[in-house]
């Protein structure tokens, strides 16, 4: 016998975390996406500082801007959830506390994502 792994476990190649490199990979993909999206967000925010709510409303109600803001906020929040999970994985060791914080991160992530999308839909519908 050369290995204690079952054949199924070996062929899945997921290691002791049971999720393989999924988390690592998602973190990288969202990071790459956030480079151009973050630069667009900076451009947008700087363009809107010093204007009024009419300008902000008309900017965010344009389809491309609404789409880019939706893409930026959802990708940012996904990347946030992945990064916060890293910190919990590294520093929270008590099982109960770990499950609690990981659940909290996921709930905040999903709730905030839904909130951003709903706000953008309301803005689009108001004009």
């Amino acid at each position: 016998m050369s290995s204690l792994q079952t054949p199924l476990h070996k062929v899945q190649g997921l290691g002791p975390s049971h999720s393989g490199t999924g988390h690592f990979w998602r973190q990288r993909v969202t990071a790459v996406a956030l480079v151009p999206l973050g630069l667009w967000f900076t451009y947008a925010i700087l363009g809107l500082i010093g204007t009024n709510e009419v300008a902000v409303l008309s900017f965010l109600s344009k389809p491309w801007n609404a789409l880019l803001m939706a893409a930026f906020s959802t990708t940012l929040l996904y990347h946030m959830a992945l990064g916060l999970q890293d910190i919990v994985d590294d520093y929270v060791h008590r099982p109960g506390m770990k499950i609690f914080t990981l659940l909290l991160i996921r709930f905040v992530w999903i709730a905030t994502t839904v909130t951003c999308i709903f706000a953008l839909i309301r803005v689009a519908a108001s004009t």
Binding site: V35, V56, G83, I87, R122, V123
Partner: protein, 139 residues
């Protein structure tokens, strides 16, 4: 003798940590990446608050702006601007490492210092841009 394995299990030796190592740019950049990431998590919540305030009409937006333009609000916004600059630039540094570039000890230290300098310049440039009246071009 019987309880010794359990005791060993509880007091296993730890690897050297922050209190042991000499401080270096690379480790400071790594810690700063995490801290700015946590700050930007709060920033993401503020972004959601901003979007909700706009969707609530003029009164809602004025309420957000009243908080954002207080002295404390501006300091926090500067913190977000620097955190975003640092996390974005250092994130690119991390992505370069993922591709196998920049692992040389001297190179890693140089790029670390560069990220600190460039992120500070970017954050100050953003605020200077606004204070000199160049913002608001999306009117």
């Amino acid at each position: 003798m019987a309880d010794q394995p359990q005791k060993l299990g509880r007091e296993r030796p730890l690897s050297p940590h922050l209190t042991i190592y000499r401080w270096q740019v690379t480790m400071l950049a790594s810690i700063t990446h995490r801290v700015t990431g946590m700050a930007l998590s709060v920033g993401a919540l503020v972004l959601a608050w901003w979007l909700v305030s706009i969707s609530n009409g003029p009164e809602g937006y004025d309420g957000f702006m009243a908080v954002a333009t207080t002295p404390i609000g501006l300091v926090v916004l500067f913190g977000f601007a620097w955190s975003l600059s640092f996390h974005l630039l250092n994130g690119i540094r991390h992505l370069a490492w993922d591709l196998g570039y920049g692992f040389n000890k001297a190179t890693a230290t140089q790029t670390g210092s560069l990220v600190y300098i460039l992120s500070l310049v970017a954050a100050i440039a953003i605020f200077a841009f606004v204070w000199t009246g160049h913002s608001g071009y999306l009117q």
